[in-house]
Amino acid sequence: MPDGTFVGRRFLVYPRDQQKRVNVRRLLAGYGIKVLYDLGDDIVVAVATEDVLRRLKRNNPAISFEADRQFELLAEHA
């Protein structure tokens, strides 16, 4: 496949147990997933496909991930 081809959505990836340290960045790198940025405590924002993240989680149950969802302002007629 040519360079520059990119597939995916934004996900938040983080340790399932927030008290434990997991090198999420390194795990993602192992699957070719680039981290957009780090939010601290091994919470990262990454772009990937859900399938790949499921595979990653299957092999590394210590991590969790979720789609980067949207939250709206709550004023009327705004």
């Binding site: 990119f6 934004r10 699957y31 949207q70 302002l73 004023a75 007629h77 705004a78």
Partner: protein
């Protein structure tokens, strides 16, 4: 020019609905069904260029169908159909030029076609815009085409010029990755096996630019895959996977273009009721008959006039709102080419006399309420130049590079900040002595924040030692990591306050419904706003003396308190004031009250962690009154009412 194309895809959706309405009424059911199907498909596939082209072709075909029918009259049908087709054409070409102006790759033929169409068929304004386009705003390769297109349309083109155009149309532009939608032939998501097969070969190399969840959502593509591909790659994929739909995800940015749409059929003049002077930049929204759909995006010019490209027989009512300084109005429309709307100035002084302010009077000097308490407002930003607001500092989430926290295009954060810490000779927020920090989590073009930006800001507020966090936002989806970030904040003694939501449902949205969050619903008071303003729409049958539970406020488990949230006058960007409704307005009322309590209650100050949060919650509850006629889910511990 690129800014002019920033708006939401929902505007196209509205247009599609409008097209449907304008042609569907006089025609046979089968035709209506055909259009409905087409619109449904178009929406489902994300309103790509291809889909819109199909819609346009369908609309253009209507007069022919009409002439074949005994029932239909071409005269009745043709004008709206042609007008709609013209409008669709214009949007397509504007979108193409908008993409070029914002630095996207467009083909030479697309550029040429868009430029010549605009010059030949666009409005006078369009023609001027194209003629006046600065060469700097277009990619180098497009500029010569623009010059030739102008010659082609406005003058006789020489043979040499014609040849030059042909040469330019064969130019091979460097390929940049573009957004594509990938779906099954039926427009649905790919089956897992198909996806695996298709994408397993694709390079997982990242860094060409991330697609944010909000973009995906805005495009309305649901579970469809959005992929960045070079056009040639997309073409190859299409050849290899003919059972798939792979189409460019062309976005149509329309909102700010509405005022220069079809020749105006209705003009609305907006004036100051007292001085009769025109009111500029007032937004005008028409609610259409039958569907009662809102048709908005029109703004008054310096002469106070807004032009609506709608037949006056279609308008049921108009909602007119100035950016600041006036009550809005929602009034029945009576047919006429020109409709005059007089806006009433907001009362002055605003803050001290506001009905809701006395509810939060607290012991100690009013001037110092909240002193020493750090409140973090996570919102759309705050107008840092507003003379009556003082924010100590702030940040913008990493998604919003170059969007400073001290600018607020929505006005939402500025309004909330006024309720919290506003301070002038005539206006005062509830905790005007508190220190305000602002976290901007929204871009200019959208009224939504990503979970990532919220997690980032909540964690940052926690680490900097905030006492109170206000979240006048929410959604129906859950986020575990956001919940964990809030738990972390509460563990450190931070009170997190959130709005319950405005859908009028008996369910509270996330994160307000969380155990750790103070969820706030909204109520209003009769006769505190003009009867022809939109605030009246908030009235409900749940009445307690002069008060009513707001019709739009969500209720249910998760509501901890009910606070004023109807016709709340507070700060607006630009230095003025405006009245707004929403649980968004009720939440900072409670956040401000908590800051005032924390500032003056030494017992609470001595506590830390969750004990402090629990004590603050209990103190807040003491200030509330249980309203007998309201349900527990509407008010939680009680309402902050006089």
């Amino acid at each position: 020019m690129a800014d002019a194309y920033e708006a939401s895809v929902s505007a196209v959706d509205e247009l599609a609905q409008e097209v449907q309405e304008s042609v569907a009424a006089p025609i046979a059911a089968s035709l209506r069904e055909g259009i409905s199907t087409l619109l449904r498909e178009t929406r489902r596939r994300g309103l790509s260029g291809a889909s819109l082209h199909r819609l346009r072709d369908e609309v253009l075909a209507l007069p022919a169908i009409a002439e074949d029918s005994d029932v239909l009259s071409g005269q009745v049908l043709r004008p709206p159909a042609l007008a709609a087709a013209w409008s669709l054409d214009r949007r397509l070409h504007l979108a193409v030029l908008g993409r070029a102006a914002s630095g996207h790759h467009i083909s030479a033929s697309a550029a040429h076609s868009a430029l010549t169409w605009m010059l030949a068929n666009g409005t006078e304004d369009d023609k001027e815009k194209v003629a006046d386009l600065s060469p700097d705003t277009l990619p180098d390769a497009v500029e010569p085409l623009r010059v030739l297109a102008i010659r082609e349309v406005t003058a006789e083109t020489t043979k040499e010029e014609g040849e030059k155009t042909r040469d330019l149309l064969t130019v091979s532009f460097p390929e940049e990755p573009e957004r594509y939608l990938v779906a099954s032939q039926k427009g649905g998501p790919l089956k897992p096996d198909t996806r695996e097969e298709l994408f397993s070969g694709l390079d997982m190399w990242a860094g060409t630019g991330a697609i944010t969840a909000q973009e995906v959502r805005k495009a309305g593509v649901g579970e469809l895959d959005v992929v960045w591909l070079r056009p040639s790659t997309a073409e190859r994929l299409r050849e290899l996977n003919r059972e798939l739909l792979i189409e460019p995800d062309v976005q149509f940015y329309l909102q700010s273009l509405e005022s220069s749409e079809l020749p105006a059929q209705v003009e609305v003049l907006v004036r100051d009721q007292e001085t009769r002077k025109p009111v500029e930049r007032a937004s005008v929204t028409a609610l259409l008959r039958k569907s009662l759909r809102a048709h908005g995006g029109y703004h008054t010019r310096a002469d106070g006039l807004a032009s609506l490209p709608l037949g006056n027989e279609r308008i049921a009512s108009l909602r007119v709102a100035a950016p600041s300084g006036y009550w809005d109005r929602h009034l029945e429309y009576s047919a006429g080419k020109r409709f005059i709307v007089d806006l009433r100035p907001l009362p002055k002084p605003t803050g001290f006399s506001a009905w809701w302010r006395g509810v939060f009077a607290h012991e100690g000097s009013d001037h110092h309420q909240g002193q020493g308490v750090l409140v973090v407002l996570i919102d759309s930003g705050v107008d840092g130049s507003h003379p009556h607001l003082k924010a100590e500092g702030g940040w913008s989430s990493r998604d919003l590079e170059n969007k400073p926290w001290y600018e607020d295009d929505h006005g939402h954060g500025t309004h909330c900040a006024g309720i919290l810490v506003g301070q002038s000779e005539s206006f005062r927020g509830i905790a005007s002595g508190a220190k305000l920090w602002v976290a901007r989590v929204m871009a200019s073009s959208q009224a939504a924040a990503s979970a990532a930006s919220l997690v980032e800001s909540i964690r940052r507020a926690t680490d900097m030692g905030a006492h109170v966090i206000n979240l006048s936002l929410g959604g129906w989806e859950q986020s575990t990591i956001l919940k964990l970030a809030i738990e972390r904040a509460v563990d450190r003694g931070i009170l997190v306050v959130a709005a319950a939501g405005n859908q009028g449902r008996s369910r509270v949205c996330f994160p307000a419904h969380l155990q750790d969050v103070i969820g706030v619903s909204a109520f209003g008071q009769f006769n505190t706003y003009p009867t022809d303003s939109s605030h009246q729409e908030s009235e409900s049958g749940a009445i307690d003396g002069p008060f009513f539970f707001s019709r739009y406020s969500n209720s249910g488990p998760g509501v901890d308190f009910c606070a004023p949230g109807v016709a709340i006058i507070s700060a607006a960007p630009g230095g003025g004031y405006v009245a707004r409704d929403g649980t968004s307005m009720a939440a900072p009322m409670v956040a401000g009250a908590a800051a005032a309590i924390l500032s003056s209650d030494s017992e609470v100050q001595r506590l830390s962690g969750r004990s402090r949060v629990a004590a603050l919650r209990a103190r807040l509850a003491k200030k509330c009154k249980t309203v007998q006629t309201w349900e527990r889910g509407q008010q939680g511990e009680g309402a902050f009412r006089p």
